[in-house]
Symmetry: C2
Subunit: 382 residues, 2 copies
């Protein structure tokens, strides 16, 4: 097992009817006013917005709304949020939504005091003080409700970058799985697939970390089982709850303990596509790429890939395991190759390769991928 | 899945050669001086003490030693530690040891400012401010290095009580599994058995919490596998590390998420014995009692008990699963009935029953045990 540090101070309130506690939690933290960050406004139709506003008012918390966070959130929208916070002298952020809203909230939590938010994502500066972030989660999958990662895009530069900062840990995250019952199937599926890929990104870099490997296999089985059940019965609370909690554990540090940082190449390959094609959502991009990453890399640690095929997919060979995963992703309506994403032009793959190389100094943990590796995986995944 | 709150702010440094970071971590927390709490002095023979002292000195941290914490730590020893802290004006606690040393350290962390430490364990007062606790773990099993539980005994009153307080979360816990290679086998076994019982205490109260149940099964399998391996090869780092990390997860909140608080009757039944017989160590007490608790209660949730027998012990019936567990405990040298503890007088079982009833207002989660239930389980376990 590799040495590691485990630290995760986020307080999670999990379960039915927990959202009404948000005002009380913010007040208990000593915060007086928040930027209420949200996406397209669906929270105004499902009762979540009303519950939150009532709770904020009951606890004397002022708030200013900043809606319109889009999938693959933009630093441009974060900048305008910061301007609002400065104008109204707000001392906290309340992100209500899925991964994109929370990630934009994190950019404000960590970078509020910087001259330029994007500088931190370009690693030109390390933020060292911030503002507290509170979260009400409306879509499980990314795990961002309980970790220190934030992914932000820059429309002007056509770039998508990740920033890790301890300032990103939400102070409190509220997860009420019952509000996810009204989600369209493809969003539920995207969340579950995203969480499964988080487990896979960690899984293949370890051999001796039995504790973590066993937990990852269990999480993957639970996520698959829960998604299968929700495809038939989207209103089953237990399956919603199991999916939601497994998605937290898939990326809160537990799933990566001792795994040498994980691989994470596929996530960067996906970022390389969606920076050029913002319409490519996170999970479809991942499900389009992962089968090819697996086929390109399995020879580097065949016993581990075979164990995955057996313990997660109940298959007696690696190729059968990958095929079973593809079949499952397809049954959930998710693409298993880039072509199926429907918007990517094959002649731009070269440009995507260059873009991917610019995302991070190192792409991949199990194997550090070079330009040729990356081009080959995109080609296989086409 | 039952609603729950998950919160665990302890920072864990895990792995080889991590102990030398303790001074740096204490300094970074702003603490200037600590009470160095330890047991019988074994840390002076295995290099741990020297490493810690060098690290404290290098970081300018003053310390005063308070050795002699015993298994089933006593409030009397905690009181004398507090007097030392007051005399030297210390502003933190550094507990170096296993569960007993850490639990006594917690009593100082939470109760330093109270008139009477024992009042908090008797629930007469709720501590609301404390001093920071740092931990260097030398024996894995209890999980107390990363949770808010503390168990303390009172020699004068012959009582053993538990106190939960957020003030008990260590600020930093350092876990270097390699220093556990020199432990005698029975201590390694006791730690592993303790962790297995923590999983079991949570396991049987849930049916729908697939995420947590799957993790608990995985943790139990890992703990059994690691213990079996260490019985043959005590110096295998990977098995030490897997045992150490699984023991953390078995009681840091992850293993109890959504499980309705767990059962914990067997732990209280064990406390009832060891308060009268302090020479009964925690794990042997638990292994002597758990088979009988299982046999007395399995009819309350047969599918869950059958699942445990199958997924943890690979047995096709509950009784076979319990028998497999007994065989395993015996093979590790641990007793499976009270008589085998070797020191308990049968005629005092009635007294033990009364003692147990006084430990907590409720004994048991799956079934709230009354006097007759408790007497019957002790009798079965005799």
């Amino acid at each position: 097992m590799e040495n590691f540090t485990f630290y995760n101070p986020t307080k999670i309130l999990f379960g039915r009817n927990t959202i009404s506690q948000i005002g009380n939690e913010i007040k208990a933290s000593g915060v007086k006013s928040v930027l209420l960050l949200a996406g397209g406004g669906s929270i105004k139709h499902n009762g979540v917005y009303d519950t939150i506003v009532a709770s904020l008012r009951a606890n004397g918390i002022d708030f200013v709304e900043h809606f319109g966070v889009r999938p693959n959130p933009l630093v441009e929208h974060s900048n305008s949020g910061r301007a609002l916070m400065q104008k109204h002298n707000l001392d906290g952020i309340l992100a209500v939504g899925g991964g994109s809203v929370i990630d934009e909230g994190k950019s404000l939590a960590s970078c509020y005091y910087l001259d330029n938010i994007w500088d931190a994502y370009e690693k030109k500066v390390v933020p060292d003080k911030g503002l507290p972030l509170f979260v009400v989660l409306t879509l499980s999958g990314t795990g961002t409700e309980s970790n220190m990662n934030s992914v932000l895009s820059n429309a002007a530069l056509q770039k998508k970058m990740t920033l890790y900062s301890p300032l990103h840990f939400p102070k409190v995250s509220i997860i009420d799985p019952s509000i996810q019952m009204s989600l369209p199937w493809h969003q539920t599926a995207n969340g579950g697939i995203d969480a499964i890929t988080h487990c896979m990104e960690n899984y293949f870099t370890g051999t001796y970390q039995e504790t973590t490997i066993g937990i990852l296999e269990s999480l993957m089985r639970t996520l698959i089982k829960s998604l299968d059940a929700l495809q038939v019965s989207p209103n089953n609370y237990e399956d919603r709850a199991n999916l939601a909690w497994a998605a937290v554990l898939a990326l809160n540090g537990v799933s990566g303990a001792g795994m040498n940082g994980g691989d994470w190449a596929t996530h960067k390959l996906q970022h390389g596509i969606s920076a050029l094609y913002p319409e490519v959502a996170h999970a479809p991009g991942l499900s389009a790429l992962f089968p090819s990453w697996l086929r390109y890399n399995y020879k580097l640690n065949e016993p581990q890939f075979a164990r995955w095929a057996k313990n997660v997919w109940h298959c007696d060979s690696i190729e059968k395991g990958i095929a079973a995963m593809e079949l499952k992703f397809k049954s959930w309506g998710s693409p298993i190759c880039i072509r199926e994403l429907g918007c990517v032009a094959k002649e731009r793959l070269g440009e995507i390769v260059e873009n991917t190389l610019g995302i991070a100094p190192v792409i991949g943990g199990l194997k550090k991928l070079d330009r040729a590796d990356i081009a080959k995986i995109y080609e296989m995944a086409w």
